[in-house]
């Protein structure tokens, strides 16, 4: 090798070493655990709180920040089986490599994994904290989570979208957003945690007037409107619930209004001036209901099919106000819903007598959002102090009813802030819910394991690649729904359905109600839903 070549090789090696050193934070870190260290005899503070919880064997790495002052950090993640993961860093952020993590979880299914954290303090001494231990459940969680992302909106909103997140890694992608029409997208609902069959509700927006209110149904890779407008159901449906066979969808319809409180921790409140429950044929959109679900003196809302599809759970409360006037806040605070169940005969499309499963009089709280577990054993619902819109109430907590015994209890995984919008996994072993425990204003999805006895375990937050992600994230996670795979209907297809105004029913004709209410209440008696667009809430 000539002198010139040697010089060139030397220069290049030096430059590469320098670049590597800069990339590694100027000083190399050792990849071994310290031998001598002090033991403070306590657990380290880590954020998010991933301690003493039960995690699914297919969850993405639970990256975290060590909230202990130090200049160097070592973390050993280990279990009885599999290879240890050792992470060394100069900053307190612990980013776990995905592949070794996945292998470790798989190797320790049904066992435990531990986190040993070592922190080097300013004086050069190492501290070794007590081991953080989490249990790896035997049962997996559905691989994807669908949720709505939006700001803490009032009257005006700019960006709303339904997104999906792969729980096995950190990939997030939009299912549908309002970019092209500017309207509201809400009430997404999946049939039996199935990503191939779902629906959502849209309201028109300022960007494209072609988008009209209605329900969009996506099935087997195609999307279209389900035309539910009829004499019985004059307005678009909300709070949807699919029967497992996909032949019927239950929904609530009414006239919601937003109300802004002039004092108190939460400024927003929503109430229904009137509201009813109906069902629609999943393919034709033909609507029907029962007189008991469309009463004039009661508000009926939050329908949910039982696991076997032979009954409908819903919530009902007495209305106290005149629809033409703004109710006194005191009246809104008097509204308390009971939990109801009404039998339904699929074959003959007939309804039985509704029964009260749990009353507000017993609980002194309003009972909302019933969701049955897919195995039919449990009913998960929430209770808050009053009203029909729990997400805006700090008092809202999750409760579970054993459908065999009829007994209910408050879940241990609740916080002193809002916990609501819950959903079961397809195997009935996991629940996800929106909680404002971290922030008071913005909801985050939390997961909790439900064991074979129906006991819930300490919840953990949806993991993010950057563990500080939630510190400065200004969107709220609304209606998290677990699904067994990714939604594959292209966003364009969904947007086309939003903009089309076409019916999903064959021939596109407006379907006739299969069964008319006999309560003497017609659409003409009710205020027009169309008037309740967002302008209705505008301050003038």
């Amino acid at each position: 090798m000539s002198k010139r070549s040697r010089k060139l090789v030397f220069t290049m090696t030096a430059a590469a070493t320098l670049a590597l050193l800069i990339a590694a934070g100027c000083r190399p870190t050792s990849r071994t655990l310290p031998e001598e260290c002090s033991e403070p005899g306590r657990l380290p503070h880590i954020r998010p709180d991933y301690n003493a919880t039960v995690i699914p064997p297919n969850i993405a790495p639970l990256n975290f920040i060590v909230e202990e002052p130090g200049i160097e950090y070592r973390t050993r993640i280990h279990g009885d089986q599999g290879e240890d993961i050792l992470i060394a860093s100069r900053n307190p952020t612990v980013v776990i490599p995905e592949e070794p993590w996945r292998e470790l979880l798989q190797a320790n299914r049904g066992g435990k994994i531990g986190l040993d954290i070592y922190v080097k303090t300013q004086d050069g001494r190492w501290t070794h904290f007590e081991k953080i231990e989490n249990t790896v459940a035997q049962e997996t969680i559905d691989s994807h989570l669908a949720y709505r992302l939006l700001g803490p909106v009032g009257n005006f909103y700019r960006k709303i979208g339904i997104y999906q997140r792969n729980l096995e890694n950190y990939d997030e992608s939009p299912i549908v957003t309002n970019d092209t029409f500017g309207g509201c997208i809400n009430c997404h609902s999946f049939r039996d945690n199935n990503p191939d069959c779902f629906s959502f509700h849209v309201r028109p927006g300022p960007i494209n007037i072609k988008a009209t209110s209605g329900m969009i149904v996506a099935r087997d890779g195609h999307a279209a409107r389900l035309q539910t407008k009829s004499e019985l159901v004059p307005g678009p449906p909300g709070y949807l619930s699919w029967r497992r066979d996909g032949l019927s969808v239950a929904f609530a319809y009414g006239k919601p209004r937003q109300y802004f409180r002039s004092c108190g921790p939460e400024i927003r409140d929503v109430y229904d001036i009137w509201s009813n429950v109906a069902i629609a044929d999943g393919k034709t959109g033909a609507t029907s209901s029962s007189p008991d679900l469309t009463t004039t003196d009661h508000l009926e809302t939050f329908p949910c099919w039982s696991a076997d599809g032979k009954a409908l759970y819903y919530c009902s409360a007495q209305a106290f106000w005149n629809p033409d006037e703004m109710p006194d806040p005191v009246d809104i605070m008097r509204i308390k819903f009971d939990l109801m169940r009404v039998p339904y005969d699929v074959e003959y499309n007939t309804w039985g007598q509704p029964e009260k499963l749990l009353t507000a009089a017993e609980t002194h709280k309003t009972i909302l959002e019933p969701r049955t577990s897919p195995d039919g054993r449990f009913l998960l619902f929430c209770m808050s102090d009053y009203g029909g819109f729990p997400i805006n109430q700090a008092s809202c907590d999750l409760y579970m009813m054993d459908l065999e015994s009829g007994k209910h209890r408050r879940l241990e995984c609740n916080s002193d802030k809002t916990d609501s919008w819950h959903c079961w996994s397809s195997n009935s072993r996991w629940i996800v819910f929106s909680s404002k425990r971290e922030n008071e204003l913005l909801a985050r999805p939390f997961f909790s394991y439900i064991d074979a006895e129906g006991r819930e375990h300490k919840p953990f937050i949806l993991p993010q690649k950057d563990p500080a992600f939630y510190d400065a994230y200004l969107k709220t996670y609304n209606v998290p729904e677990l699904i067994t795979g990714p939604v594959t209907v292209p966003e364009d297809e969904l947007v086309q359905a939003v903009l089309s105004g076409q019916s999903a029913s064959q021939g596109g004709a407006t379907s006739k109600p299969a069964w008319q209410s006999t309560a003497g209440k017609t659409a003409a008696d009710k205020p027009n839903w169309q008037a309740v667009d967002d302008d209705a809430y505008s301050h003038e």
Binding site: F156, C263, P265, E325, E438, E440, L441, L474, H539
Partner: protein, 679 residues
């Protein structure tokens, strides 16, 4: 005999070349005229235009972090909006903003001159001042997105300048190079700047270098890059949605089309001009040579290229150095002065002083410089003031803070519809913080939060997040406040404020030693009253009554001075003297020296209809046991004299009364009853 080069001469040659290169770069970059122009432009931006008002007019969200940056990377030209947002934030600090804006203009001008010199070989003279003057005019409108224009054009022209100066390799290398550069320029600078870049490059290739086929291919590549990149970016949806900055979706306020056409048209037009001048010159020379019958020796292609390069370098150098003789100095000075005078004239005639004053009033209000608010408001022409919601609002707030509201409110035009800013959803984005601040001061924290929630959706800014964090701290919700403070840590304007509050929250989550927060907490209402202060109209719209809010606030805390003075002002403006008198009982809660003048005057008008309420004795005139000042009573006597003199009310009497009793409630009341307040 064989001569071997010792190496010494070649080293000298290298040094010479290096020096020449440095000199050329220096000549391109530091042109005295351009430097002088840019220096004066920076001074103008700072001292006359006042770049802080650009921030005031166009504040938008900007965060110095990667997640915010990536939101701007997915579409062509959006990076410029990131640069624009950064420059606007720098404007908040004054000098840094002025220098940054001037630097963008400087880069544009030097790269333009460099491009023309390298391409056309003919001197472009002082025509570079044309884009300079246009940009001066554009910068004069505080609301235009001019910074993205100058920065985008500067980048595009720098790229074009670089392109024409690179040595000409073979076509198979040249075209891919152009394609790569086009993709970069289009993605960085957006469509219009890219068109400008591509046009200049194609003109250079086809006309200056006379390579017609590559020129035509470059034209095709230019078009293909535009549509190809658009298609790819739509297909792969690369941009992130972390913060969804509204500047990426809102229709932005750009200068008029003719100004844009003039600006963007200048570059290709100038290029054609310099090439045409050279071609025309060459043709003339050839003609004379033929006429004389002499034929010049044939020049090789390489020699021709060297000649051109030398000429370009000479052009660069010639324009950079000072003239050699006295006459040259005179010519240089005169032409420089002419150029600067043209720019100054453009600046002078396009600056809207009223717009500037309005922004200054806003700025002073936001910084609680109350005396300055009133001073600047007095400079504002009366019709402009009357038509400005914000000026009216700011002046009333300044008068409240300086204790003059119950005394001098009527020295400024007043109108009920301008007073309250209640229609906040219809306010311009930069004004929506105003009602929020008033509600906060009044103690209506939830209303302030509601406005902020709407505002943050409509047009999120650091200012809105700052207020939201503040609201959450007042309400004792530290974890929610911290989320906004964490965001603000990356905001150049509010980062130190946010950091300070994060530290304070860590020590005391209740912030019990923060006097401002404690003061607002004392005024906060404890009983929901929205059913009394708002209602749905027949068309299902929800409305709020500002007077009802003030009254409710006063009912729940009768020591709320702002609620009291604002409510009294509302009554005065509406001519509701009965209301003014009814609220007299709260006067004692505040330490006024006697009855404030305007309230006294309203009371006398009330007493003129209820004489039994007024007692006139040796000690003076008394209204419900409160002494009316002699000055006020004398004013009333003059008012009464006016009324007696004219049996029928008329505008003339009103005008005469207003002149003699300026700032008094009497002429206002007279005008109000004349139904001519809006005149």
């Amino acid at each position: 005999m064989v001569f071997v080069n010792s190496g010494q001469p070649s080293q000298t040659k290298k040094h010479c070349r290096l020096l020449q290169s440095v000199r050329t770069i220096g000549a391109i970059v530091f042109r005295p005229r351009v430097l002088l122009f840019v220096a004066l432009f920076a001074l103008y931006l700072y001292a006359i235009l006042d770049v802080r008002m650009i921030f005031q007019a166009r504040e938008s969200l900007f965060l110095w972090n990667l997640r915010f940056f990536t939101d701007f990377t997915g579409r062509p030209g959006t990076l410029l909006l990131w640069v624009d947002s950064l420059l606007v934030q720098l404007c908040y600090f004054g000098w840094p903003g002025a220098l940054a804006l001037a630097a963008a203009v400087w880069l544009l001008l030097v790269s333009t001159i460099g491009l023309m010199n390298a391409s056309g070989r003919a001197d472009i003279g002082g025509t570079w001042i044309i884009p300079g003057i246009i940009l001066v005019g554009m910068h004069n409108d505080y609301y235009f997105f001019h910074t993205s224009l100058s920065a985008g054009l500067a980048l595009a022209m720098t790229a074009a300048n670089g392109w024409v100066r690179i040595p000409s390799p073979r076509i198979w290398l040249r075209l891919p190079l152009f394609t790569a550069l086009s993709i970069v320029v289009y993605h960085l600078t957006g469509a219009f700047n890219y068109y400008c870049f591509a046009a200049c490059c194609v003109i250079h290739e086809a006309l200056a270098e006379k390579r017609r086929l590559p020129g035509a291919l470059m034209l095709l590549i230019g078009i293909a890059v535009k549509f190809g990149l658009d298609a790819v970016l739509i297909r792969f949806d690369l941009f992130t949605r972390n913060f969804q900055p509204p500047v990426l979706e809102t229709k932005l306020n750009y200068p008029p089309v003719w100004q844009l056409a003039l600006l963007y048209g200048y570059f290709p037009a100038c290029m054609l001009f310099v090439i045409y001048r050279e071609t025309a010159g060459n043709a003339a020379r050839t003609f004379w040579q033929k006429l004389r019958g002499t034929f010049g020796k044939k020049v090789s292609r390489k020699e021709a290229k060297n000649k051109k390069r030398k000429k370009a370098a000479r052009n660069d150098a010639e324009q950079s150095i000072a003239p050699a003789n006295r006459f040259g100095w005179f010519r240089w000075t005169a032409s420089t002065l002419l150029i600067l005078a043209a720019a100054a004239a453009a600046g002078f005639y396009t600056l809207d002083r009223n717009k500037k004053l309005l922004l200054e009033i806003n700025y002073c209000t936001d910084h609680q410089m109350w005396e300055d608010v009133l001073k600047k408001a007095r400079e504002l022409p009366r019709p402009v003031f009357k038509n400005s919601l914000e000026a009216n609002h700011n002046v009333n707030l300044a008068m409240y803070h300086t204790g003059r509201l119950p005394y001098e409110m009527l020295f400024f035009p007043q109108s009920v519809k301008n007073w309250t800013l209640i229609n906040y959803l219809r306010l311009p984005n930069q004004m929506i913080n105003k009602p929020c601040d008033v509600y906060l001061e009044l103690g209506r924290v939830n209303e302030a939060e509601h406005i902020l929630i709407e505002f943050m959706e409509k047009w999120p800014t650091g200012g809105a997040y700052k207020r939201m964090a503040f609201v959450k701290m007042i309400k004792g919700q530290p974890s929610a406040a911290k989320t906004y403070l964490n965001v603000l840590r990356d905001d150049l304007v509010w980062r130190s404020w946010a950091q300070a509050y994060l530290e304070r929250l860590a020590k005391d989550p209740d912030l019990s030693d923060d006097e401002e927060i404690q003061q607002i907490r004392r005024l906060m209402i404890t009983k929901d009253d929205l059913h009394q202060t708002g209602k749905y109209s027949s068309d299902d719209r929800f409305g709020i009554n500002f007077s009802a809010i003030l009254l409710s606030q006063l009912r729940q805390n009768d020591h709320n001075k702002m609620a009291y003075e604002y409510l009294m002002a509302q009554c005065l403006i509406a001519g509701n003297v009965d209301g003014v008198v009814e609220l007299f009982f709260v006067l004692d809660n505040f330490s006024y020296p006697g009855i404030p003048t305007l309230y006294e005057e309203a009371a006398i008008i009330y007493a003129s209809k209820h004489p039994e309420e007024l007692v006139n004795n040796q000690s003076g005139v008394f209204f419900r046991g409160r002494k009316i000042s002699e000055t006020t009573f004398n004013k009333y006597l003059r008012y009464e004299a006016f009324l007696k003199k004219q049996s029928t009310p008329s505008k003339e009497v009103g005008a005469a009364m207003a002149r003699q009793l300026e700032g008094s409630y009497f002429p206002y009341y007279y005008w109000l009853h004349l139904g001519e307040m809006n005149e």
